[in-house]
């Protein structure tokens, strides 16, 4: 059961990170923490129950998670290319500035 505590701690850290971080990449990492906590939960509970579904879920959830993360990172790369910087906070700021000017115009 020690691992359940670990997964709860990871969840708490993840939610704290969601609330306190401005930078997109850190938000992203926090979300990954929550997802990892969930997968950890699955594995623990499955091994406690002695069925394989948990592990199957682990593999599938990892792959789907990774797919979405891949999309996000790809998006960040497009943004980085377009705006010439890889600093996330700056990019978001840049887009927002441009956004507002577009909306106003």
């Amino acid at each position: 059961m020690d691992f359940v505590i670990l997964s709860l701690v990871m969840l708490a850290v993840g939610i704290y990170g969601l609330l306190t971080n401005r930078q997109l990449l850190k938000v992203f990492i926090s979300v990954e923490l929550i997802a990892t906590a969930a997968t950890l939960n699955f594995v623990i509970l499955a091994s406690a129950a002695g069925v394989g579904l948990g592990e199957a879920f682990l593999i599938l959830a990892f792959s789907t998670d990774t797919a979405i993360s891949g999309v996000i990172l790809a998006l960040l790369v497009i943004v980085a290319k377009k705006y010439g910087t890889s600093d996330i906070s700056k990019i978001v700021q840049l887009i927002q500035d441009k956004d507002e000017s577009e909306v106003e115009a």
Partner: protein
């Protein structure tokens, strides 16, 4: 035995772990980092060598040790002649490339990343060939793909490199999916991922007569799909040419020992697994084996002909690899008796000779590119004087590549041709002979363009120098191996625990050799004359409009076939267009009625609704809700507010639920 147990694990774990230390060591000294990588490669090579005696003097049976990893899946090593052969080759080449990189990559940016990936690459490839189960193998299979992606786009500031890396990654992914599907099928059938388990499963089911050969044939085709993508075979061979954007040292490693050889390993391994049940082999024989051979033969000839036309020195070598791996596939396609077939051994033997001569080719090409700064062969020429050592080594390389006696490829290629001849498909035999002839032609062409003739304008402008010693010594070692490797054939055969019917001398006296030489000498002469002596007659054939040049310059008419299909469809579409005209008339008639109706609505609104309604809404929206209007800007800009709102909503849901039912 204990030594072997330890070293069979260390040989892949050590480079993987050591790769993590590269960035740490780099913090202290760049020099220490480079020598650390070399030292690790030396140790890895030593560990790999220490596995050899056990297999050489052993019974040839596979042994494996494993530890539990997660439920149902273990991590382990699988020691048999095949895996040790590959391990030794990879470790040896890792060492060669690590030393070569000291010279070739000198002064490049991002070397920490380079050495990190290099060690990871070596470790993953060894892990791939030594794994005792499919999941572990698949993980390393992916890691090999990932490392090659990262190494090919090593110069990430050049868009071509990044594009090439991505192309490689995506094209090999196609094969990865096929392989994963095959693993899924095998697991479904036998409930285990381990090689031993699958072999036992096949044997038990075969003796009980319950073996589902249909499903296994599908699995075999999926495995073939994985191998095709990884080993750059038809129709997924184009990535290997793009991979030329990598640093040359990486190309050498990629071609000689890792990545493209993974597909050969996979097929060789699965042929071994499948061959335990004769009933399964019987099911594979009508379709699967012929398909493997045909893919091999066709790739061999297409690769070789494309090598004739490219002007990129590394491109020639890339197409040469594609062609040579086609040979190996052709050999594997004849291995219907598993390890007992001559084709199986021939492919693996050729795989090693190819590693030596292709590796040598790349090391030399790297030196040349290093010296003159271009890959375009048209800008080279007359390097014989300025780079004499490279000249001699390259001569050895092209002689070996072409399969001239008595160098390595003469024996290995001869064995493959023998095995295909035994299989007895006349077209395949003719195509393979034609390929050997073309191989000689493109080798001579490359040699003439680069080393013979006069110095080009490009070269006169710069001071060309011989490659540094640290780059030449690895090349010399490989050249030496090219020369003597063929004589090691009996030794390798006994290492692989296979018996060959032919002796070394037999290779000279059998029927193939005269055909071989009678084909090679004229093509070699033609190539030599056309590119070195500028013999106008041959030049005219090559430059003029004749069937051969047309086919090659059109890239085998792939595009033209597409165009033909498109024209056919556009004829059909004329009919469709008339139909389209008919449907576009309908809305017009519909429209005139509707416009009339809309005007009525307009008049109504104009009279009754104009002032009163607009005023009401404007008052409501703009005056009363100015506070809310301000709000509408804030949430539309900040992601952080969204997240805060979501967490608030989460708490709201929790409170509401608890209010309803209590805890």
């Amino acid at each position: 035995m204990i030594l072997e147990d330890v070293s069979s694990w260390l040989v892949w774990i050590l480079p993987l772990i050591a790769s993590l230390f590269v960035p740490l060591i780099a913090k202290y000294s760049a020099k220490a980092r480079n020598y650390f990588a070399v030292a690790i490669s030396v140790i890895t090579a030593g560990l790999a060598l220490s596995l050899v005696p056990g297999v050489f003097f052993g019974s040839g049976e596979a042994t494996s040790t494993s530890v539990a990893w997660i439920t149902g899946i273990s991590a382990g090593v699988f020691i048999d002649p095949l895996s040790v052969l590959f391990t030794t080759l990879v470790a040896f080449f890792g060492l060669i490339i690590a030393i070569y990189s000291l010279g070739y990559m000198k002064g490049e940016e991002g070397l920490t990343r380079y050495y990190f990936l290099l060690l990871l690459f070596i470790g993953s490839m060894i892990g791939l060939v030594i794994s005792d189960n499919l999941i572990q193998m698949f993980i390393f299979w992916e890691m090999v793909g990932l490392c090659s992606y990262a190494l090919i786009s090593f110069w990430y500031k050049r868009p071509e490199s990044v594009r090439a890396g991505t192309k490689v990654f995506i094209m090999t992914r196609i094969g990865d999916i096929a392989l994963l599907a095959a693993i899924g099928i095998l697991f479904t059938m036998f409930g285990t991922f381990s090689f031993h388990g699958i072999i036992n499963g096949i044997q038990t089911a075969a003796t009980a007569g319950t073996l589902d050969t249909g499903l296994l044939v599908i699995a075999a085709f999926l495995v073939l799909g994985g191998a095709i993508a990884k080993s750059a075979q038809l129709p997924l061979f184009t990535w290997l040419y793009s991979a030329m954007e990598a640093p040359t040292s990486v190309s050498a490693l990629l071609h000689a020992a890792t990545m493209v050889k993974a597909g050969i390993y996979l097929l060789a391994r699965f042929i071994l697994i499948f061959s335990v049940a004769p009933v399964l082999i019987a099911a594979l024989q009508p379709l699967w084996f012929p398909v493997v051979t045909w893919i091999g033969v066709l790739t061999a000839i297409i690769g070789a002909t494309l090598a004739l036309t490219t002007t990129d020195i590394k491109g020639v070598l890339a197409y040469s690899t594609i062609s040579q791996i086609g040979f190996m596939m052709a050999g594997l396609g004849t291995a219907v008796e598993g390890a007992a077939s001559i084709g199986w051994f021939a492919s693996l033997f050729h795989m090693i000779s190819h590693a030596f001569f292709e590796g040598l080719g790349f090391l030399l090409a790297g030196g040349i590119i290093h010296a003159i700064g271009t890959r375009d062969m048209r800008l080279m020429g007359g390097l014989k004087k300025t780079m004499p050592i490279s000249f001699i080594l390259m001569a050895i390389m092209i002689i070996t590549t072409s399969g001239l006696p008595p160098f390595a490829a003469f024996f290995s290629k001869g064995l493959i041709i023998t095995s295909v001849t035994d299989a007895g498909n006349l077209i395949q035999i003719i195509l393979l002979y034609a390929t050997t002839a073309i191989t000689f032609a493109y080798s001579v062409r490359m040699f003439s363009l680069v080393f013979m003739g006069k110095e080009s304008e490009h070269l006169k402008k710069q001071h060309v120098h011989e490659a540094p010693k640290v780059m030449l010594i690895p090349a010399m070692i490989l050249a030496g191996l090219c020369i003597v490797w063929g004589l090691a054939e009996p030794l390798v055969a006994s290492f692989m625990h296979v018996s060959l019917e032919t002796s070394l001398l037999g290779a000279f006296t059998n029927l193939e050799t005269p055909i071989f030489l009678s084909l090679l000498i004229p093509t070699g002469l033609i190539a030599y004359y056309s590119y070195y002596k500028n013999y106008q007659g041959v030049r005219n054939i090559a430059a003029g409009k004749n069937p051969l040049t047309t086919i090659l310059s059109h890239g085998y008419f792939f595009d033209d076939v597409y165009g033909g299909i498109a024209r056919g469809i556009s004829n059909v579409s004329d009919g469709v267009r008339r139909f389209e005209g008919m449907i576009s008339l309908f809305p017009q008639k519909f429209a005139s009625t509707i416009i009339h109706l809309a005007n009525e609505v307009h008049v109504y609104l104009d009279v009754y609704a104009d002032k009163s309604l607009d005023k009401l809404i404007n008052v409501l929206a703009n005056k009363t809700l100015t506070g809310v209007s301000k709000m509408k800007k804030a949430p539309s800009t900040s992601l952080r507010n969204y997240i805060a709102a979501a967490v608030l909503g989460f708490i709201l849901i929790a409170i509401l639920i608890i209010l309803t039912i209590g805890v």
